[in-house]
């Protein structure tokens, strides 16, 4: 089954929640909605589920319009941030509840409950009550209940937010593996770029109720259509420098001058935005034509294997993500190197004009 959204909009009290969204979710696909809080992720999922009615546009299941049909007629599961289980019945009965409602035969219920429970590693807990479980186990129970009934559309609304960072890592991997073998459409809302990368599938970037970009995760990640997409899908956000290209050189903020080599030589003279991911900025030059910029250290954050260093000068600030531990004092002068083969280039209207080639020689 596929789900198609056509010019979908929703307005509440004159405020736009969703604006003119066009999307097609294919059968068996896993779709991540990535956006900041209030970007419209939950609103969009509620429209897909039929919990809200769009003010404009249409919704099709397999080409059949369902815009006004009630929720009960659609086969949908939803998983929320909060762990929602029935507290007065066992985990087993919690998972079985949607099947009991659908009047599935007892033997079949038993088989499916056990199968789903083992997929989510909660088989030993089936006879316990939800409130006796840890947060991660409770959310696993809620997920099992959503997955047991073979829904055609499963919606996840930031389901891992309230869990430990380590548990998130594990559940994320489990979910990704689970959806590889299922035929339903999965939709997963998150605010974290790294979560979208880890989950894979299709990524749709949402901002202020609009779709900024949508496509296979790596395609979106590697070819952000504009500066907004680049910033949304990069953690920490992609560094953006305003530059002017003349016939002979490139100038950042009328401050730092560089020669035009390789890809840059192809740019027509004019104003551009140059984007570089924090992980591609280096402290030592790797090529002769790396762009060298003098900065000062504003703050250096160490996370075990990596250092996030915030650097700034009078004109702009950047974040660098460096492998290993680099300790610098605040205010220390430092030179950073931007490899030309890792630069994204956007025109003055912030639309992508050049994307760095993948693979091969490494920048940082």
């Amino acid at each position: 089954m596929s789900l198609t959204l056509e010019n979908l909009s929703r307005k509440v009290d004159g405020v736009d929640y969703i604006r003119d969204v066009n999307l097609t979710l294919e059968a068996g696909s896993f779709n991540v909605l990535l956006g900041r809080t209030l970007a419209g992720k939950t609103s969009l999922m509620r429209l897909m589920a039929g919990l809200d009615k769009p003010t404009q546009g249409r919704l099709y299941y397999d080409g059949v319009e369902v815009t006004g049909a009630s929720v009960q007629r659609r086969n949908i599961s939803m998983i929320y941030q909060q762990f929602i289980n029935y507290p007065n019945i066992t985990v087993y009965e919690n998972i079985a509840s949607p099947l009991r409602l659908a009047r599935v035969a007892a033997a079949e219920i038993d088989r499916r409950v056990k199968e789903t429970a083992s997929m989510l590693h909660i088989e030993p807990l089936l006879q316990r009550y939800p409130l006796e479980l840890s947060g991660g186990q409770q959310q696993r129970t809620a997920m099992a209940r959503a997955l047991v009934k073979d829904a055609t559309l499963v919606l996840f609304d930031e389901p891992l937010v309230n869990l430990d960072y380590k548990l998130r890592e594990e559940l994320r991997a489990e979910l990704r593996d689970l959806f590889r073998v299922r035929q339903c459409i999965g939709v997963y809302a998150t605010t974290e770029a790294n979560e979208a990368l880890a989950l894979g599938g299709t990524t749709t970037l949402l901002h202020e109720g609009r779709v900024v970009q949508s496509g296979p995760v790596m395609e979106v990640y590697r070819n952000p259509v504009n500066t907004l997409a680049a910033q949304l899908f990069s953690e920490p956000p992609m560094n953006m420098l305003r530059g002017r290209v003349s016939d002979t050189e490139i100038t950042f903020d009328e401050y730092s001058h560089h020669g035009l080599t390789r890809d840059l030589a192809r740019l027509a003279p004019g104003d551009y935005w140059f984007g570089i991911r924090p992980s591609h900025i280096a402290l030592v030059p790797a090529h002769d034509d790396d762009l060298e910029i003098s900065m000062e250290v504003a703050l250096s954050e160490i996370s075990g294997s990596e250092t996030f260093m915030h650097v700034e000068n009078r004109h702009f600030e950047m974040v660098t993500q460096l492998m290993g531990v680099h300790q610098y004092h605040t205010g220390a002068p430092i030179k950073v190197y931007l490899p030309i083969n890792k630069l994204f280039v956007f025109d003055r209207n912030e639309q992508l004009v050049h994307t760095p080639a993948q693979g091969g020689e490494r920048g940082g």
């Binding site: 209030l38 605010t191 880890a198 954050e301 075990g304 996030f308």
Partner: protein
């Protein structure tokens, strides 16, 4: 400001604890030095929030002592201990304006009006809520409410310490970056003892100079972010720190080192020596995904492994390989390529191969 010392501290929520499993905190000694920026890191249920509440006085420990600058404070209320604490979910006085919220702790401390004005303005400026000062707190977004909660903790100048209990849970990731940086700057500026509870290793290591990792009611390691990463004292630290965590492999003693299946792992001299002095057979080796070396050709001391999976995470890739009976994860740079099912050669650099006996690190004797 004070040095905070915990002496043979233990706490159980049950009235008559039967065994160690009834304890949220088990027999623990620890010192938080004056003016430090510390993190208390661990999974949920490890006892970290309990410890924070014991320091602030919201919870009375069942055993042991809490000392501020050597003085026993067990019997003192949070009010008397003069400690600021920021909670996981925003707590604002919603009938008050943002200004009144921030001024509240100062008014309670009888700070003169003029000082309140400047101090509130200063903190509001740092937290970027200066333009919201006259809004009613109930009309704020969750982000803003949490900033107000934090502001109420930061606004006091004379506090013994500021405790944070997962303060950034409700904050948007984009903003988390900024706020963490703000907290660090505030610490550098005011030099107050700060203890920050979190389950997120990045949050802990970007905020704190030193991190206490809690597991099962105990502090299993107290060290700098680098120490936790490079020399995890306990297998749990290895697993919990790092993304993905450390590869931990059960091994057996063999003639000149340890082995699993047919794979023999070369150890350093001192590791073998120390291992011979220990009786336990609960032996593991640990190596971080970042430190395993992968090559397409064989080299001396390398093992052949099969690539099972490759996960592209944008800035890096996680390669899952099978080596003998074990699955290992290797972290490679983003441009690394290897076909699934293909053969690669891995090696474990000896300086990064850790040896664990009974879950604790075997350390070099100095």
């Amino acid at each position: 400001m004070a040095e905070i010392q915990l002496k043979s501290l233990a706490h159980s929520y049950s009235e008559s604890p039967a065994g160690p499993e009834d304890y949220a905190i088990r027999q623990l000694d620890h010192v938080w030095h004056k003016g430090g920026a510390y993190a208390l890191l661990g999974p949920s249920g490890c006892g970290k929030s309990t410890m924070l509440n014991i320091i602030s006085g919201l919870v009375q420990p069942s055993e042991g002592e809490v000392l501020f600058d050597g003085q026993r404070v067990n019997e003192l209320s949070p009010r008397e201990r003069n400690i600021a604490q920021v909670f996981q979910f925003p707590v604002v006085y919603d009938s008050m304006t943002v200004f009144e919220n921030l001024a509240f702790p100062l008014k309670n401390n009888k700070v003169p009006g003029a000082r309140i004005q400047t101090r509130v303005a200063e903190i509001a400026e740092i937290l970027e809520i200066a333009d919201k000062l006259h809004k009613k707190a109930r009309n704020l977004t969750a982000d803003e409410k949490q900033k107000v909660s934090m502001g109420r903790g930061l606004v006091r100048e004379d506090v013994t310490a500021i405790l944070f209990d997962e303060p950034l849970t409700v904050i948007d990731p984009a903003l988390k970056w900024k706020l963490r940086r703000k907290l660090k700057q505030i610490h550098e500026q005011f030099d107050i003892t700060m203890v920050y509870v979190t389950h997120d290793q990045l949050e802990a290591s970007t905020f704190a100079d030193k991190i206490a990792v809690m597991y099962d009611g105990q502090i299993v390691q107290f060290g700098t972010p680098i120490e936790l990463f490079e020399h995890p004292n306990h297998t749990f630290v290895g697993y919990f720190i790092g993304s993905p965590g450390m590869n931990l492999i059960d091994v057996e003693r063999s003639a000149d080192g340890v082995s699993f299946g047919a794979v023999r792992v070369a150890l350093q001299e001192w590791q073998i020596e120390r291992l011979q002095g220990l009786a336990s057979n609960n032996i593991k080796i640990g190596i971080r995904p970042e430190f395993i070396e992968l090559a397409s050709g064989a080299a001396e001391g390398s093992y052949q492994a099969e690539v099972l999976d490759m996960e592209d995470l944008g800035t890096y890739k996680i390669i899952t390989v099978r080596l003998g009976t074990q699955q290992l994860q290797v972290r490679m740079h983003e441009d690394f390529e290897a076909g699934i099912g293909s053969r690669v050669h891995l090696s474990f650099p000896p300086q990064w191969t850790m040896l664990y006996v009974d879950e604790f690190l075997v350390q070099e004797q100095s």
